[in-house]
Assembly symmetry: D3
């Protein structure tokens, strides 16, 4: 099942490379900002990743959720911290979020299995 | 073609089981509320299912649309009642809804074929 | 307090007149479709108004909510029917809907007071 | 200028009281869940309030933003922590968030002035 | 009636100044990108302003619509060009866009009157 | 890789035929409006297609993006014109748009390869 992690990572990397090769200044700067915005500042990296996760979840963007789940996992956030954040996202965003919650749980479990 | 119904049902059931096993109180209560909200009250079940269908369609959530289409089908709503509701959803939500309309029609036809 | 109903009706009518006077074919046809879509068909007018109300609420459009509340009121839907529909909209759309729920309750009460 | 805080609080309290008096079970439970979801758990209250703030901002709900700004302020979060969270919300949600950012800054400054 | 233009411009300028004074790097860069993105490139300024207008309209952000209407007006776009773009936005975004269309027409007329 | 174009076209045509065969008046008229709205008027077809593309992108509808990319391609818009429009959409709609940008670039490249 851990293939959903690899598949996501590979497609993301392949297409990001092509987009950045295209040399569109606005898009390149947005990608650059994206890296900077999640670096430690007044808030630490873990908190920022949870903010990114919740923003992605209420806006119902599966790929963005996957990206932040992966970073949360690498940063050492626990499953209960992550699912508590997802619970808030489901409450604020409504039951319309539930299908994305299913895929988020599946992806998190794939991340856990990949490391075993 | 009726496999799209089974595939949807199986994945939904599998992941709902895992989510509920996780014992996150907020998420469990939201799932519980979801069951209660669609029971007969001042409005009957059929009307409520149509409300759920239209809400899901304008918010463009394919899985939520599939879920309510399946319940509408089981509750005995006719195709013309369901597509009239989908027509309102397309008007209110705009042409951006049309790709979801395609998948909704496909799913409804799969529901009809499954029973044959 | 019933002025919020009059204010809404007057502004809506004034600007609709100006928009239609502008003779933009696409916009005129959309306005026309809007009238047709809520007429009795496979579904009755009351059900359709509730569908319009729920669609407007989950998409968080206060003016659309007000419009459908007013039509629901005129069509004789009861407060408990309307609030049950709003409850489904809040569950599906999430707590982000609550500020719109406050304004919807206020508007409904203004509709009731206006008739006294 | 601090009146925008009082005005918001008063209207919110007045309408919440009326909504809860209406005794709609689904809506009452959602209000109840909303209180529980932001209590300390695997994540502390400050982090949860920032999650609520970011969710509200990307979904562009001014009243929800105001509510979480007020709670953030009461919980002792600093302006730089709050604006860093708002920066992430603006990046994830896009420039469409900027008008809400203006009103968020204005509200935060009103909160600061109110305490003086 | 042209006060709605002045009121919008003044509030926007006042709050933008305060936001930029706050020195949040991410937010400042997003403001900066916003200026660059609408400069002439492969597409001319008029076309880009119409793109900004349609994006703002389907995302139903009144202040963003006002900002782009004002720039469209200054760039010399005609009313029929602007309303044709708004017609596409209403079709793609659905009737939920109509209340924003009312305010857009009102603002455009205020822009025209202001110049007289 | 050009199969993603064929697959999209075939599914779209198959389901549009079934939807139109269903004879739902509201839906048929919306399809009809959709054709008319993108015809030359005060704005030319190329500009209108870019408006449709940007609206689809900020509303994050992959199939709508694909449809307008294909029409942009047929109308002779260049890659730099299209990606400049996509850049504006990403800025206005936020980083949440990026996954759709990846699929848009992939689809555009498939369109280019198909012609070779």
């Amino acid at each position: 099942m851990s293939n959903i992690v690899e598949d996501f990572d590979n497609y993301r990397e392949k297409m990001n490379t092509r987009i950045l090769a295209d040399n569109n200044k606005i898009i390149k700067r947005i990608f650059n900002l994206d890296t900077n915005a999640f670096m430690a500042g007044a808030l630490d990296v873990k908190t920022k990743e949870l903010l990114g996760l919740v923003a992605s979840t209420v806006l119902r963007c599966d790929d963005c959720v996957r990206y932040h789940l992966e970073t949360c996992y690498k940063e050492g956030l626990t499953k209960s911290e992550v699912t508590e954040a997802l619970g808030i996202a489901t409450l604020v965003g409504g039951t319309i979020v539930i299908p994305h919650l299913r895929r988020a749980y599946e992806f998190w479990e794939a991340l856990e299995q990949q490391q075993e």
